[in-house]
């Protein structure tokens, strides 16, 4: 188990900066997920930890040792790649045992360790096959076994499940979770899939355009997004975000003259202040027209989810999505009234997108 300290880490390619200084502390035994849209620098950060990319600035320390100048093999990390990266000409046994062979371990010990690892991911029946004769899920398990056999200090996962189908992905997620529980090795997992991130992470790192937006527990990030970007990125269906400002009476004005009563946001309702108001679809409910603060809207279309449905509506030029459990049919064009749950409101500055606490 190892602690990873990332201090002011930067990455430039020629003159383009792709990571602008990242500070993260990863505790020993923690399962950290780096989440972000493609091109945000999350894989680059992971590869810098692995030693596959040079670090342009700042430092990375594993277990207190600065590893900036160390070769990948000296860092004690093992990596699972997106496309498995198995050696196509070697059998599963040779694939898993290759790192031990390079380390010149005696054959008997090598075989014993390969066997043990293969058992833990149920690969024994396939040990003499080649990667080409395996299914996607099996190849993924070989890739994980290959990482595990070295008994590394740190596991690095680079979007390992993006080539698997949805069902297999869920199964592999459970497997990774179980392995982490059993082995307790510090793990860093990169993904762009938020469900994967939310279910796996002890600690979630949200990255955007080379910067860390927020670090926290998955629930923390979900309930208290630190920025407009995080609010928009985390959660499916996405959070409703309204750009607007407060009027003299403290009402929130948005769209083409729409008004929302947000009296619960006391203290931050400065008239004229430009803000983004966010509320998750589950915080928006249908109510009667006479409810205090009800927002009139017109249904655009309804998205059936099975157990519930999403009502996409237009409220004075602003799009609003509400989670609804009712089953009565709603046609598009129907006028409805919506209300915002008190506790579910998030406020962000329009200027820099940071959260305004209230």
């Amino acid at each position: 188990m190892a602690q990873i300290t990332i201090k002011g880490v930067k990455k430039n390619y020629a003159k383009t900066a792709v990571i602008h200084g990242v500070d993260v502390n990863i505790e020993a035994g923690e399962f950290v997920v780096i989440l972000g849209p493609s091109g945000c620098g999350k894989s680059t950060l992971l590869r810098m930890i692995a030693g596959l990319e040079e670090i342009s600035g700042g430092e990375i320390a594993i277990d207190g040792t600065v590893v900036n100048q160390l070769e990948p093999r000296e860092r004690g990390c093992a990596m699972v790649f997106q496309n498995y990266a198995l050696y196509p000409h070697m059998t599963v046994r040779q694939n898993i045992g290759y790192s031990l062979k390079v380390a010149k371990l005696p054959k008997a010990e090598r075989d014993a360790r390969v066997m043990k690892v293969a058992q833990s991911v149920s690969l024994e029946p396939f040990l003499d096959r080649r990667p080409g004769e395996l299914s996607g899920g099996q190849r993924q398990r070989v890739a994980m076994a290959r990482a595990m056999v070295r008994e590394p200090k740190v596991f690095l996962f680079d979007e390992p499940f993006s080539n698997l189908d949805a069902k297999l992905r869920v199964a592999m997620r459970a497997e990774v979770r179980r392995l982490h529980r059993d082995l307790g090795v510090t793990s860093v997992f990169v993904t762009h899939d938020q469900t994967e991130a939310m279910t796996l992470a002890d600690k979630l790192i949200i990255m955007n355009a080379g910067n860390v937006e927020q670090i926290g527990k998955p629930t923390e990030v979900y309930n208290n997004p630190a920025s407009r970007f995080v609010a928009d990125f985390i959660g499916s269906p996405a959070m409703n975000l309204f750009e607007g400002e407060f009027d003299a009476e403290g009402q929130f004005m948005h769209g083409t003259g729409g008004k929302m009563n947000v009296s619960q946001l006391n203290g931050v309702r400065v008239p004229g202040r430009k803000v983004v108001l966010g509320v998750r679809p589950e915080g928006v409910r249908r109510t009667g027209a006479d409810t205090h603060g009800a927002i009139p809207a017109v249904v655009d279309y309804v998205e059936e989810l099975g157990a519930s449905r999403l009502i996409h509506a237009d409220a004075n030029g602003s799009r609003i999505v509400a989670l609804d459990n009712d089953t009565a049919e709603i046609k598009s064009g129907t006028p409805v009234h919506l209300s915002l749950a008190d506790s579910a409101l998030h406020l962000f500055s329009l200027e820099d997108g940071r959260r305004i606490s209230h």
């Binding site: 030693g51 990948p72 990390c77 790649f81 290759y98 790192s99 070295r150």
Partner: protein
């Protein structure tokens, strides 16, 4: 392309058969002539049916051109060149594809340009180098006054000399450099995903271990294809061995011996023996291609996954 018209089918067959005949007829003439007696082969027009003198002619050619030792020479040279070319091609392509150094593209283009400079074009300077392989170093030492300095200080006259004439080294070494091979290997290495190199790095393998344990086994079909072309090419070398070996008795190759088999101007016109000799000499490359063609086609066209 699939065409389902009888006329088109007939046309393709016709073209194919004509092509086949064009290729096979010379071989047939060689085989027929090699099996005839002197009287039969001298008859005009020549009969296109084989006779029964094949074995006698073969042994006559074998003895006359001293093909035993020459065959051995040819094998040593062809195998040496093939192995050398493959090693050099694989390693230079490895350097060009997997290492990110500044002069990478320059190196690649320099190698590529030599495609346009076959041995025949640069045969005079190559001969000069073969006569003294250390000549370039001598020139460098002389130009920069180092040899003068050494002589002034120690009184020793610097005169580097490494003669490659009349040696296997001289026969093999200048033929080893190959742009074709490097290019073929480069194309293959570029299809190998970066992740594979990274995975081996994470597994703790050094660059050479990656080369040996991953790239070489993966490029097996490629290597066999290349070996086939290179073997045939170097077996058929005529000009270079002719130039570099004055000691034909010891270092001559079989292809050079073809000359010895051609009847002299006023000698007996025993073309049957000449043809028998040609038959023997073209047999090894023919067998190599026959055995390797499965790999050859696979290595050049597709690759097994």
């Amino acid at each position: 392309m699939i065409e389902r018209s009888p006329f088109f089918d007939a046309l393709t067959y016709a073209v194919m058969i004509i092509g086949l005949i064009l290729v096979v007829i010379p071989f047939w003439v060689v085989i027929v002539a090699a099996s005839q007696s002197l009287q039969e082969v001298s008859r005009v027009p020549i009969s296109l049916l084989p006779s029964d003198q094949l074995w006698a002619n073969l042994s006559e050619a074998w003895a006359r051109a001293d093909l035993g030792p020459k065959m051995l020479n040819s094998f040593i040279v062809a195998i040496g060149v093939t192995i050398g070319k493959i090693t050099l091609a694989a390693m230079s392509a490895f350097a060009i594809v997997f290492f990110n150094f500044k002069a990478r593209m320059i190196c690649f283009w320099l190698i590529f340009i030599t495609l346009m400079l076959p041995l025949e074009v640069r045969i005079v300077p190559t001969y000069a180098i073969a006569a003294n392989a250390l000549l370039p170093f001598q020139v460098i030492l002389d130009t920069f006054g180092i040899s003068w300095l050494v002589q002034a200080v120690s009184g020793i006259q610097v005169s580097l000399n490494w003669n490659l004439l009349n040696s296997y080294t001289g026969l093999i070494l200048p033929l080893v450099a190959t742009a074709t091979g490097t290019f073929l290997y480069r194309q293959f290495f570029m299809t190998i995903p970066d992740e594979l190199a990274e995975a081996s790095k994470m597994d703790g393998a050094s660059a050479m271990e990656f080369f040996r344990d991953v790239l070489i086994p993966l490029s097996r079909t490629n290597m066999l294809a290349l070996a086939t072309i290179m073997f045939v090419g170097s077996w058929n070398q005529y000009l270079w061995p002719l130039l570099i070996t004055t000691d034909r008795a010891n270092f001559g190759t079989v292809v050079m011996q073809l000359k010895a088999l051609i009847p002299a101007q006023n000698g007996t016109p025993d073309w049957n023996v000449t043809m028998a000799g040609a038959l023997i000499i073209m047999l090894p490359p023919l067998l190599v291609v026959a055995f390797m063609q499965r790999w050859f086609v696979r290595g050049l066209i597709s690759r097994d996954k």
